[in-house]
């Protein structure tokens, strides 16, 4: 994708001037107690896709928020076509031709697509809105870039992939020549990712400059021309994508060699430990979030539950943990009907739960590490004697667990809120796994966790499987599901679309199922069910 194929007059198909080159030089950004960007150099040119790769907290988003005018750098320069820029607000950045697609969409659900696009812009009719004109232009742009969306629909009616297209249209409408995409694939199905990539490649061909932020190696390798890796706020290195590979990039991200493929022995299936029969669970808005779901998890296997976010996985997990009432159906835990039992009864029967929201549901964030470790067993020996807590025992056990599970904390008295996401997750893992559970419900166990901790958590889950625990792994990360699961169930709109064999499932096959396509599912199901 060299610059020669592009138009000669320096304009984009939208009529906007191109940004031939954007350079960030020596960018420094501090937050209280954190050096988020430490003399970062970064640049992007018209016609290329430059990936910015790094773990959570590496400073990628902070860097890009400065380019978009949301933060001001403490030091360093931003040059566009060689001219230094000072952005005081996103408005300045937008005027300079920069657009940003945020990880969490910046849309107003109660407004229509057209209204969202028109928001904050001057109207050609002065104090009156000019939505007809905006709509016409939106239609033109969506035609030109293959971004299919109904301009008159309300945003809350749109699927996630469509909402992302609205975000891109919003940026294009404002004349974005340089587009920043912050983790754009996190919420998409594999097929939607393909559509997005097609659009991005076309935009690059047309002369847009694109910055693609991600922590997923295979996506970066698939879409970018160049890769720059950030770690702890610093640039570790920059490579042309063609000259690098997964192993090298992972090592640059983490700072040490990383295992990308786990060794797994075949599953040693035991009895059914968790049986879900025709379960129906209500959602937050009164509709049924889980519809007639039946699943069985055996001792010694990991059953992966895949699906795009918001298809009922969270509600199912909460129902299994006893945190959400069941409308109908049954849950059998180790052969006992626990459908309407409180969480305590399930814990007593040997169920452990790793919740999706680790700070909200998994820990009490003002409490110390030690207090959080005994949350479930504080009333039992050795942690208590009659009505008194046994502080010596609590400290001793806590110290042992912190060591054993590699939780990085100054002491066991540190409040949990001061720990990083990965360490909080290890702490929850320590609490739940040290109880030697018969059944483990793990909901998004590695979301927002760095590669190092992810690797550790995955190893622990596999160990637990080896030890004979029945594990239900709920995750939106297909790579994780495929790396760990013996069988994979796919959930779509509250129903199980199908169950397939884990090791042999392909991303394409799962992607179709995640979009609700049942093709071939029935046949497969028969073969796998034990």
């Amino acid at each position: 994708m060299s610059t020669q194929v592009l138009g000669l007059d320096g304009r984009l198909p939208t009529g906007q001037m191109r940004i031939e080159e954007m350079r960030m030089i020596g960018i420094v950004k501090r937050f209280p107690g954190v050096l988020a960007n430490d003399h970062v150099d970064f640049d992007v040119r018209a016609g290329e896709i430059h990936a910015l790769l790094g773990e959570n907290g590496a400073g990628k988003t902070t860097l890009m928020r400065q380019l978009y005018g949301l933060y001001r750098p403490d030091a360093g320069k931003i040059l566009i076509n060689g001219v230094e820029q000072h952005f005081n607000s996103p408005q300045d950045a937008i005027r300079a031709g920069i657009g940003m697609i945020h990880q969490h969409f910046m849309l107003v659900p109660s407004l229509t697509v057209v209204e969202n696009v028109a928001l904050g812009l001057k109207s050609s009719r002065g104090v009156l809105l000019d939505l007809d004109r905006v709509e016409k232009r939106v239609r033109e742009l969506s035609e030109q870039y293959g971004l299919k969306v109904d301009p008159k629909a309300y945003v809350w009616q749109l699927a996630v992939g469509e909402q992302q297209r609205v975000e891109i249209l919003k940026a294009l409408y404002r004349g974005a020549a340089l587009l920043i995409l912050d983790e754009p694939t996190a919420v998409l199905t594999p097929q939607e990712v393909e559509d997005l990539f097609r659009t991005l490649r076309q935009m690059a061909r047309d002369g847009h400059a694109l910055i693609f932020i991600s922590h997923k190696l295979h996506e970066v390798l698939a879409i970018s021309d160049r890769v720059t890796v950030l770690r702890d706020g610093r640039v570790v290195g920059s490579r042309p994508t063609k000259e690098t590979n997964k192993v090298e990039l992972a090592q640059m991200m983490v700072g040490r060699p990383v295992i990308l493929q786990y060794e797994r022995s075949p599953a040693q299936l035991g009895e059914v430990q968790l049986a879900i029969e025709n379960l129906v669970v209500g959602g937050d808005r009164g509709q049924d979030a889980v519809r007639n779901v039946s699943l069985e998890v055996h001792a010694g296997e990991i059953l992966g539950l895949a699906g795009v976010s918001g298809n009922g996985q969270r509600e199912l997990a909460e129902a299994l943990a006893g945190l959400r009432p069941v409308k109908s159906g049954r849950i059998l835990l180790c052969g006992k009907d626990v459908t309407h039992e409180p969480p305590g009864a399930r814990i007593a029967l040997g169920q452990s739960y790793i919740p999706e929201e680790r700070l909200r549901d998994g820990t009490i964030k003002e409490f110390s590490v030690a207090d959080n470790l005994i949350l479930e067993d504080h009333h039992k020996p050795p942690f208590s004697r009659q009505i008194f807590l046994n502080f010596n025992a609590i400290r001793e056990v806590s110290k042992r667990l912190v060591n054993e599970y590699n939780v990085k904390t100054p002491s066991v008295d540190t409040p949990v809120k001061n720990l990083s996401g990965g360490n909080i997750q290890k702490l929850i893992l320590a609490r739940e796994l040290s109880r030697r559970p018969k059944v483990l419900i793990a909901s998004q166990p590695t979301r927002g966790v760095d590669i190092g901790a992810t690797e550790y958590i995955h190893q622990r889950l596999l160990e637990q499987r080896q030890a004979g625990t029945a594990i239900l792994l709920i995750s939106e990360d297909l790579d994780e599901i495929r790396a760990l699961s013996d069988r994979i169930a796919v959930m779509y709109e509250g129903e199980i679309v199908g169950i397939v064999d884990g090791p042999s499932a392909t991303a394409e096959q799962l992607g179709l199922m995640m979009a609700g396509v049942r093709e071939g599912g029935q046949h497969h199901l028969e073969k796998i069910r034990l």
Binding site: A36, Y71, P109, S110, A118, G120, K122, V127, L128, L129
Partner: protein
């Protein structure tokens, strides 16, 4: 009971109902702007009291009601601005700061009243203006088109507010800021500025609401003369699902029931007084419980805006 259903009485109820709706309309429409931008101001009643006092006092001293009205607007605006500083810039808990503003308005208006006047005095308020032609329609002319200017103004405010909220870029910004301030921020909209404007505007309209009592409807000032009307006005915003036309529906319903109970008393119908007075409030609570569409509520209502963490 037979006296109640004669044409003069029914026309009388409609006439008083429209008048009674006036302060509610100003206050609720003002609060609708405030809440649509994601702030709620519980101090409306306090602002109304200050508006009622300053409108009355300035109108009386200058002999010009328009100066009175202007003073009420100015005082309302300033109190709105104060609320904006506390809730938008200082990001205080809005429920508490609103109640604080109410107590402040209640106390200050009573104090000023005691210091400046010897007792309850009355004033000759805005006089009815009969609208040419329309005012001559039999029956309807008297009931609908023979009111004072503040009453007309209140009803004209409804389409105007609806137009601003739904047909202008400014209205779009207000609603966006109330639903998803982060999104508005990324589009270069100054969230705090929009909220300052709406909260101040809401204060100004609450000031007019107060003045409409003291210089156009009751034509006197008394301590705590609103007796909680500002809180009903806030309830009406919920009742009307944050839309001006819906709010007008609620204000009319409430005021007609109120007018009805006043006429019950006037006609000496054998109906316990206390229950009659309770009637409009009970109706409002009932209607609120049945009608409120929580889905229409601005998502960011009551939440101060801060740019996200890194």
């Amino acid at each position: 009971m037979n006296d109640l259903f004669t044409i003069p009485v029914i026309l009388g109820i409609i006439y008083s109902g429209l008048r009674l709706a006036t302060p509610y309309l100003y206050a609720s429409i003002g609060e609708a702007f405030v809440q649509n931008s994601g702030v709620y101001n519980l101090g409306v009643d306090g602002i109304m009291l200050m508006g009622a006092f300053s409108g009355f006092y300035v109108g009386m001293k200058t002999g010009n009601l328009w100066w009175g009205l202007l003073a009420a607007m100015g005082v309302g605006l300033l109190m709105g601005l104060l609320m904006a500083v506390v809730s938008v810039t200082l990001k205080a808990e809005q429920g508490i700061s609103g109640i604080g503003l109410y107590m402040f308005g209640l106390g200050l208006s009573s104090l000023l009243f005691k210091k400046t006047m010897t007792g309850v005095e009355s004033i000759s308020g805005f006089q009815p203006v009969r609208i040419p032609l329309l005012g001559n329609i039999p029956y309807l002319g008297d009931v609908l088109f023979n009111h004072n200017l503040l009453v007309y103004g209140a009803f004209l405010l409804v389409p105007l507010a609806s137009f601003i909220l739904y047909k202008t870029p400014f209205g779009l910004m207000i609603r966006a800021v109330g639903q998803n301030p982060q999104a508005a921020d990324t589009l270069g909209i100054n969230v705090d500025r929009i909220r300052y404007i709406t909260v101040s505007l809401g204060g100004m309209l609450a000031g007019i609401a107060g003045a409409s009592l003291s210089i156009s409807l009751i034509n006197l000032f008394q301590e705590n003369m609103t007796s909680g009307m500002g809180f009903i006005a806030i309830a009406l915003v919920y009742f009307g699902s944050w839309r001006p036309w819906g709010i007008m529906g609620g204000a009319l319903l409430f005021s007609f029931v109120n007018a009805l109970q006043l006429w019950l008393q006037v006609l000496g119908v054998n109906f316990p007084y206390d229950f009659a007075v309770m009637l409009p409030y009970a109706m409002t609570i009932l209607a609120l419980a049945i009608s409120v569409r929580r889905a229409a509520m601005p998502d960011a209502l009551g939440k101060p805006f801060e740019r996200g963490e890194f």
